[in-house]
Amino acid sequence: MSKTHKITPADFEKTIMAKVKSNEISMKPRWYFVLGSLLAVTGLAGLSVVAVFLTNLTFFLIRQHGPMGQWRLQMLFSSFPLWVPLLAMAGIVLGIRMLRKYDFSYKKNFWLIVAGFIVSIIIAAFIIDHLGLNETWSKRGPMRGFYQQMEYGRGNRFYRNK
């Protein structure tokens, strides 16, 4: 390939340095980047926690809707708070988008990272559900109201008459 192909560079030095000296362009402060990194880490951690919680809640609600095949399915369609799994999925998708910002995302096989992220969330949610934390939270503590709303909330005629 021709390396001798001549391209005359425009007078960047003069133009850009004039802007630098006149403060027309300025450097963003270091804290701006530190804050950016912190927000990215916090955002990813927060999204992961929310995704784990909502996935765990989905498992719990499916279990709470009873074991009776067809009837359970009917109930699922009529009263299941579908926004919970949908929000969990949105959290996972956003988390994956944030993972792309990190250097390791292109140095390793990204699809493997995505698969690892999804599997970790499902396993974490499964463990929380099986430890019985949902039962505890639905009976006492500050989450009780929320859980009751989820279990017997609006539109859930099967449970309201229970």
Partner: protein, 182 residues
């Protein structure tokens, strides 16, 4: 007296952000020709390449505090040029579509000396016809003399993908140049 011409790019960047912003001129001097060549190859147009490089130098300056001096400054600034070029190409929608899978048999032996010389003079024309995903790594490898690792850092693709694209680009380049000669 500090001789800045002997300092590494990373050290110069460190001085610009902590002591003397006017030393940024040294970075511009070191990179303007290389970045112009790279940007012009991506854009397929010197004027657009110049716009990309100017914008990239401005962005590099304003984001200099975000540069990690433990990493290569070259890869960082090339990455900024790549991003700027992609933004501009997105705006212009000026990518030349090309069917990379087309087959062509000119019957010409590429190793022939005469053809080699012909290829040199037609290289830029061939490069311009190539799809951007192959043109860019090829240009970084042969014109900018970047390693696979550096290309991976600039394009943010795995090293293995860099190798695959370069091999594919070589094949496409060969076909394009043979077609052009014919």
């Amino acid at each position: 007296m500090l001789d800045i011409s002997k300092l590494s790019d990373e050290d110069v960047a460190g001085i610009v952000r902590s002591k003397d912003k006017e030393i940024y001129a040294e970075i511009i001097r070191r990179y303007q020709t290389k970045l112009m060549r790279y940007a012009s190859n991506i854009m397929g147009d010197e004027h657009k390449g110049a716009d990309v490089v100017q914008e990239a130098f401005i962005k590099a300056y304003s984001n200099l505090n975000g540069f990690d001096t433990k990493k290569k400054f070259g890869s960082w600034i090339y990455r900024i040029v790549h991003n700027e070029a992609m933004n501009m190409l997105g705006k212009d929608k000026k990518q030349v579509p090309m069917d990379d899978a087309f087959e062509f048999d000119s019957g010409i032996n590429i190793e022939d000396e005469f053809i080699k010389n012909e290829l040199v003079s037609h290289t830029h024309h061939c490069l311009e016809q190539m799809s951007i995903i192959y043109r860019e790594p090829l240009s970084l490898m042969y014109l900018e003399e970047k390693s696979y690792e550096e290309i991976s850092d600039i394009l943010r693709i795995p090293v293995g993908t860099v190798g695959t694209r370069i091999n594919r680009a070589r094949t496409i380049m060969k076909k394009l140049c043979q077609k052009h000669i014919k």
